[in-house]
């Protein structure tokens, strides 16, 4: 799988069209990091325009940006690239707000971008891990809808988890 910009291997370009009509021109090797697109390319073969009615342009753009970084890093087959990918992943998720996280996760899931789903679910998990119930509610703006006593009952049953 060695290819660089100087060789004449023709990279096929795909057009991806988001729900709001925004289109992206991407190399096939980048777009096929997404399982759903990979399947479409394999099944339909020659189709170059792929419509994605469930993702809007803003988030499709972000997903593709992530794919591009990973596709580029993977072609230089080096162990150091794992580190580069990790570093870049960290940057990618660092400042995402919850609204963006929500839509990115939905998009990544819809497009079967397994690695990206892993990255994003881990990011959300890190926002819950080791936190108190009240902190989780505050972080995600969730209101408790338990009836009086219900929450206490769970706490009592599992007191070991609240120490």
């Amino acid at each position: 799988m060695s290819s660089s910009s100087t060789t004449t291997t023709t990279t096929r370009l795909l057009m991806l069209k988001a729900s709001d009509g925004v289109t992206f021109e991407v190399e096939e090797a980048v777009a096929t990091k997404l399982g759903a697109i990979n399947n479409m390319v394999e099944e339909e073969g020659s189709e170059d325009l792929i419509c994605l009615p469930n993702v809007n342009g803003k988030f499709l753009g972000m997903v593709l940006e992530w794919c591009k970084k990973h596709a580029n890093n993977n072609t230089n087959s080096d162990k150091g690239n794992d580190e580069v990918n990790k570093w870049w992943d960290k940057e990618f998720v660092m400042d995402l707000d919850q609204n963006t996280l929500y839509h990115l996760l939905m998009a990544a899931d819809y497009l079967s971008g397994t690695e990206l789903v892993d990255l994003l679910t881990e990011k959300v998990a890190s926002m819950i891990r080791g936190k108190k119930v009240e902190e989780i509610r505050e972080t995600f703006k969730i209101k408790s809808d338990f009836l009086p006593g219900q929450e206490e009952e769970i706490r009592k049953k599992n007191s070991w988890a609240f120490e």
Binding site: Q98, N99, L101, Y102, L105, M106, D109, V117, T121, E122, V124, A125, I128, R129, G130, K131, K132, V133, I136, R137, F140, K141, I142, K143, S144, D145, F146, Q150, E151, I154, R155, N158, W160, A161, F162
Partner: protein
């Protein structure tokens, strides 16, 4: 703005599966929907430490004062053991012996009294089982989960043939066992294994892979992949792993591998092929010392084998 957790349940489950059990329980307290989600997903319910064992001391009359327990989570590997202390019981933890573990629950016995406890190290629940009422009897124990009754069973075998089957009232640990529903007790001295089917409660005798196991050789029985397996230490540092290719057929015991651990370098652990069943490589964990004697401890359900050095 929409709440983040309006996201489909299957994605929330993916998120929660990355958490430790404590964090999952706390998340359960956040709202009604988080509670019902966790209550319904079997993968979350099953998320408890999975393979657990301590060092067995079957013939040593002096219990080890620093009995330690190793436990391994579902997703962690053998390089990251979690050490936990045994629970405090009336006579003190020092006299507890780990008899077996299944689905995150440990079966412990008290050395002098043979009182049996079931302990869930994650929730720290401890159950004392009804006493067998046979003082001064040495038992061998079998412990496992019966998928038919959704409950644990403890089998106590006293030498030579007295047998008590002790179903336990443990409704709160309703967890599914993966496949194996038979629990094996080694009767190494006569070269036989006693198999007990937890569903039918029927015993069965099987030949041990090595007919002439000496008294000082240590044997550990378990499940390697889907096969009943035996791990034996013959001489210091020399471990043999046998696999019963056809369950119940004594002739189908095959010696899979022989490892001389004293000759292994700690920097380049050998790759061992267990064909045709699987291959695996030896990993040294921090608690393995080279050039010491090794004892077979347990088979992990992910195909790992744990061998402990005598420094522990």
């Amino acid at each position: 703005m929409t709440c983040f957790f309006d996201i489909p349940d299957k994605i929330i489950v993916e998120i929660l599966l990355r958490l430790d059990i404590k964090s999952i329980i706390r998340f359960k307290c956040v709202s009604k929907s988080s509670k019902s989600l966790i209550g319904h997903d079997p993968r979350l319910k099953r998320k408890v430490p999975y393979i657990m064992f301590g060092k067995r001391q079957e013939d040593d009359p002096r219990p080890c004062p620093h009995e330690k327990l190793f436990s391994y989570g579902h997703f962690s590997n053998f390089r990251m053991p979690v050490l936990r202390r045994l629970p405090l019981v009336e006579s003190g933890s020092d006299s507890l012996i780990v008899e077996g573990s299944d689905n995150g629950v440990l079966c412990l016995s008290e050395f002098r009294t043979s009182i049996v406890y079931l302990w869930n190290p994650t929730t720290r629940e401890l159950k004392k089982l009804p006493s067998p009422n046979c003082p001064n009897t040495q038992f061998r124990f079998g412990f496992g989960y019966d998928s038919l009754t959704n409950d644990f069973k403890v089998i106590m075998i006293s030498s030579p043939f007295g047998i008590i089957v002790n179903p336990t009232p443990m409704g709160m640990y309703k967890l599914r066992l993966l496949r194996c529903c038979e629990w094996i007790c080694p009767l190494a001295l006569i070269g036989l294994l006693v198999a007990f089917n937890l569903n039918t409660e029927i015993f069965k005798l099987m030949e041990s892979p090595q007919q002439h196991i000496t008294r000082d050789s240590e044997q550990s029985i378990g499940k390697l992949s889907e096969y009943l397996s035996s791990m034996t230490r013959r001489t210091p540092g020399l471990i043999e792993i046998w696999v019963m290719k056809e369950y119940g057929i004594s002739d189908s015991w095959i010696k899979q591998v022989k490892v001389d651990l004293t000759k292994c370098s700690i920097n380049s652990p050998p790759d061992i092929k267990l064909s045709p069943f699987q291959s695996f490589s030896l990993q040294w964990s921090s608690f393995l010392h080279p050039y010491k004697d090794f004892y077979p401890i347990a088979f992990g359900n992910n195909g790992y084998v744990l061998i402990c050095s005598d420094s522990y």
